[in-house]
C-alpha cells in the first residue's frame, strides 16, 4: 500500500476517534462549563474548570487521580503476572483438563452477572469485619476484587501469542537443564514483551474506567477512584452545572493512560525488530 494512502486512511480514522472528544475538550475549556453551552467551538478558553477541580472542597480530585493510578498500576501488574503464568501453562504444558479449563475460562466471562453486587456484599461484609484492611472502602480490597478478572480474556490473548513462539526455543533450554521457572523467566518473558505491554495497557485502561464494582465498593470520598467520583459529579441534578468540570476530569483521566501508553509503546514497537530475530 502506498504510504500516502496509509496516512490518509489513518487520519480519517483519527478524525472519527477524536470528533466526540473535541466536544469534551471544548466543554472542558468553556468558561460557562455547562452541558448546553458546550459546542464544538467554545465560547472562550480558560482553565477554570481544571482549577476548580483541584481546588474543590467537595471533590478530593487529586486524591482520586492518585487512587485510580495506583489501583490501575497495581492491578494491571498483578493481573499481568497471573495471566502470564496461566498462559504459559496453557501454551507449553499438556495436562488433563487443559482444554476444559481454557474453554471454561472463555465461557465464564459470558455469564451475565446480575447478582455480582449481591455476592460482593456477601463476601466483603465478612471480609470487612475480619480483615478491615481488605474490606470495603480500601484500595487493597478492590485490588483483590479486580484480580478475580485477571485470568479472563488476557490469558487467551497471551496464550495465542505464546503459541506463535517456536517451542524449540524452550525445549532446547530444558534439555540444557533449565528448570521450568528458568525457562519462564529467562526465555519466555523477554520474548513476549510486545504482548505483555499491550495486555498491561489493556488492563490499565480497563481498571481506570471500571465503574460498576468500584461504585459500590468505594463509598468514602477519599477512597474513590476517578470513574466513581466523576459519576457522582453528573449524577442527579449536578449534570448541567458540573459538566465543565466533568469534561475536564474526563480529559485528565486520559492523561495517565496516555502516559502509560507512551512508556509501553517502545516495548510494543520493539517487537518489530524482535520479530526479525524470532523468524
Amino acid at each position: 500500500m502506498k504510504l500516502a494512502l496509509r496516512h490518509a486512511f489513518v487520519l480519517l480514522v483519527c478524525a472519527f476517534a477524536l470528533f466526540p472528544i473535541l466536544f469534551v475538550v471544548s466543554a472542558a475549556i468553556n468558561p460557562l462549563g455547562t452541558l448546553a453551552s458546550s459546542d464544538l467551538v467554545p465560547n472562550g478558553a480558560s482553565f477554570d474548570n481544571v482549577a476548580k477541580l483541584f481546588s474543590s472542597d467537595i471533590y478530593p480530585f487529586g486524591r482520586w487521580v492518585f487512587n485510580s493510578v495506583f489501583i490501575a498500576l497495581a492491578s494491571s501488574t498483578a493481573s499481568l503476572l497471573l495471566s502470564m503464568f496461566a498462559a504459559y501453562a496453557f501454551s507449553r504444558m499438556r495436562f488433563a483438563g487443559r482444554r476444559v479449563g481454557l474453554l471454561a475460562l472463555l465461557l465464564i466471562q459470558m455469564f451475565p452477572q446480575f447478582l455480582a453486587i449481591v455476592t460482593i456484599f456477601m463476601i466483603f461484609t465478612r471480609v470487612s469485619e475480619l480483615y478491615p484492611a481488605f474490606g470495603f472502602n480500601t484500595t487493597w480490597g478492590i485490588l483483590l476484587l479486580y484480580l478475580g478478572g485477571a485470568l479472563g480474556v488476557n490469558t487467551w490473548l497471551m496464550k495465542g501469542f505464546l503459541d506463535t513462539i517456536p517451542k524449540e526455543l524452550d525445549e532446547s533450554a530444558t534439555v540444557d537443564g533449565a528448570t521450568h521457572a528458568q525457562v519462564f523467566w529467562k526465555i519466555i518473558m523477554p520474548l513476549v514483551t510486545p504482548i505483555l505491554a499491550v495486555t498491561a495497557l489493556l488492563a490499565f485502561i480497563g481498571t481506570m474506567s471500571e465503574f460498576l464494582m468500584a461504585n459500590i465498593f468505594l463509598r468514602d470520598a477519599e477512597s474513590k477512584t476517578l470513574a466513581v467520583g466523576m459519576y457522582g459529579m453528573i449524577a442527579g441534578d449536578g449534570r448541567n452545572a458540573n459538566f465543565g468540570m466533568f469534561a475536564a476530569a474526563t480529559l485528565i483521566t486520559a492523561i495517565p493512560t496516555v502516559g502509560v501508553f507512551l512508556w509501553l509503546q517502545k516495548f510494543i514497537v520493539s517487537g518489530l525488530t524482535a520479530g526479525a530475530v524470532k523468524g
Binding site: 452541558l35 448546553a36 465478612r126 469485619e129 442527579g236 452545572a241
Partner: protein, 427 residues
C-alpha cells in the same frame, strides 16, 4: 394491589422505632439466623455505638456534612456521610441485607413501599407537636400503611418558570402559554415554544400537570380522596382524551412537546433565553439564577375549561435503617435533630429545596420568595404514591407519552400502556 393496608390511619396511630418489642416470646427468633449477617451485627455492635453512618446521593452529601458533624460533636460520636451515586435504593437494600448498610439513608418518599416490604427501615416516631410542624402534604407522603416511616426535610414539585422579559404576564391558562410561546417563536425571539422535558422515553413526572388538566388520571381515587392504586386508569376514555391533547401539543401539532427536549437540555435552553417557559422544579433555580434571566415562578396553569393541573409532590426524607449498627443514635438524629427548624433552614441554604417544616419554610420564604412560590404551586398536588409497584406504571406511561408526542395514535398508546401495566402488576 394485594398489600393490605395495615390498620386504620387513626390520629393517635404512631409508630415507634424499636426492635422486637411484641409481648410474645417468639420475637427472640427475630435475630437473623444466617451466619454472615448475624456475625455482622454482633461484630459491628461493639464499635457501632460511637459511629453513625449516613448514605446520601450526590445532591445532598455536601449539604449534610456540616450538620452531621455538628450532631457528632454534640453527642460525642463520629458521623460519616457517604455518597452513593448510582442505584441508591437497591444498593442500600442489598448492603443492609448483607450487614454492610448505613444507619440512616436519605431518599425520596416513594422508596418507602419497597423499603418496608424488605424490612429495611423502621417506623419513625414523631410527637404530635413535631408532626404538626410539617406541611401536611409532606407528612402524608412519608406515611405508609398508617405508619410514619421517615422524617421529611424537603419538598419538590414542578411549576411554570417564565422568562418575564419575553412573557411579562402570567398566563391564566395553558393555552395562553402555548399561544405566547408560538408567537415568540414565530417572531424569532425563542427557539422552542415550551421547555418541558419529554425525552425519548417520556417523563410522567413533568407532564403530569398537563395530563391531569386534560382530564387524564393514572389512578382512580378512594373514598377518602387518595389515589387508589387498585384502579389504574391510564387506558380509560378520559386518559385517552388527555393523550390526544398531548398529541395536539406534540411534534405533529403545536410542536410544544418534543422528545428531543430532555432533562439535560431543557433548563439550559431556558437559562439561555431560548425559550420563554420552563416546566421544572426547584433544582432548576440554581442554573436559572446564575444565567441572570428575569423570571417568575407560578403554578402550571390548567387548560382552558380543563381540570386543575395537579403536579406530583416528591418529598426527600431521612430513613432509619432497621439493620443499622447504631439505631438509637440514628433515631435521635432523625427524630430529634433534623426535625429542628434551624437545621432545616441550614439544609436549605446548602441545597435550596423548599423545606418540609412550615417554620423553616416561613423563614426561607422571607429571604427567597421562589421557595414559597414553588410550595404554592404544589399546594394542589398529590404525593407520588409510595407503593412498590409504582415504577411498573412510570415506564409504560412515559413510553405512551413519548409515542403520542411523536404522533402515534393516542387511543392505541393508552390502551397498550394499560395492558402492560395490568400485566406487570399481576405478577
Amino acid at each position: 394491589m394485594r398489600i393490605r393496608a395495615l390498620g386504620v390511619a387513626a390520629a393517635a396511630t404512631v409508630a415507634f422505632g424499636a426492635t422486637a418489642c411484641g409481648g410474645s416470646a417468639p420475637t427472640s427468633s427475630a435475630a437473623p439466623s444466617s451466619s454472615a449477617p448475624s456475625a455482622g451485627a454482633s461484630a459491628t455492635a461493639d464499635k457501632g455505638s460511637g459511629k453513625l453512618v449516613i448514605w446520601a446521593d450526590p445532591n445532598r452529601t455536601k449539604a449534610l456534612k456540616p450538620f452531621a458533624e455538628q450532631f457528632g460533636t454534640e453527642n460525642g460520636v463520629t458521623v460519616e456521610v457517604k455518597e452513593i451515586s448510582k442505584d441508591n435504593q437497591q444498593t442500600f437494600l442489598t448492603a443492609s441485607q448483607q450487614g454492610s448498610g448505613p444507619d440512616i439513608t436519605v431518599g425520596a418518599h416513594d422508596w418507602i413501599g419497597n423499603l418496608v416490604q424488605n424490612g429495611a427501615i423502621d417506623p419513625v416516631n414523631l410527637t404530635e407537636e413535631q408532626k404538626a410542624a410539617f406541611s401536611p402534604i409532606a407528612l402524608k407522603a412519608v406515611t405508609f400503611n398508617g405508619q410514619v416511616y421517615g422524617a421529611p426535610y424537603a419538598m419538590e414539585n414542578v411549576a411554570l418558570i417564565r422568562n418575564t422579559k419575553l412573557a411579562p404576564d402570567a398566563p391564566a391558562t395553558f393555552d395562553d402559554v402555548i399561544a405566547k410561546g408560538k408567537e415568540l417563536k414565530k417572531a424569532g425571539k425563542v427557539k422552542e415554544v415550551l421547555c418541558l422535558p419529554v425525552t425519548a422515553k417520556g417523563d410522567a413526572y413533568h407532564v403530569y400537570p398537563l395530563f391531569s388538566s386534560a382530564g387524564g388520571a393514572i389512578f382512580g381515587t378512594t373514598s377518602a380522596g387518595d389515589p387508589d392504586p387498585k384502579q389504574v386508569l391510564v387506558g380509560s376514555k378520559e386518559s385517552q382524551a388527555a393523550f390526544e391533547k398531548l398529541a395536539e401539543l406534540g411534534e405533529k401539532g403545536d410542536a410544544a412537546l418534543k422528545t428531543s427536549l430532555t432533562n439535560e437540555n431543557s433548563i439550559p435552553t431556558f437559562a439561555g433565553g431560548k425559550c420563554a417557559f420552563l416546566v421544572s422544579g426547584p433544582w432548576a433555580m440554581a442554573d436559572v439564577k446564575k444565567s441572570g434571566v428575569a423570571y417568575d415562578v407560578t403554578a402550571v396553569p390548567a387548560f382552558k375549561d380543563g381540570k386543575p393541573a395537579t403536579p406530583f409532590v416528591g418529598v426527600q426524607a431521612f430513613f432509619v435503617a432497621s439493620k443499622g449498627a447504631s439505631k438509637t443514635l440514628a433515631q435521635e438524629f432523625v427524630t430529634n435533630y433534623v426535625t429542628n427548624p434551624d437545621v432545616a433552614k441550614a439544609l436549605y441554604d446548602a441545597d435550596p429545596r423548599p423545606p418540609a417544616l412550615t417554620a423553616a419554610l416561613d423563614t426561607v420564604k422571607a429571604a427567597d420568595p421562589d421557595a414559597g412560590k414553588f410550595i404554592e404551586a404544589g399546594a394542589g398536588g398529590i404525593p407520588m404514591p409510595a407503593i412498590p409497584q409504582m415504577s411498573a406504571i412510570w415506564e409504560p406511561f412515559g413510553i405512551a407519552e413519548a409515542a403520542v408526542v411523536k404522533g402515534s395514535d393516542p387511543v392505541k398508546a393508552a390502551e397498550s400502556a394499560q395492558k402492560t401495566i395490568d400485566g406487570s402488576l399481576k405478577n
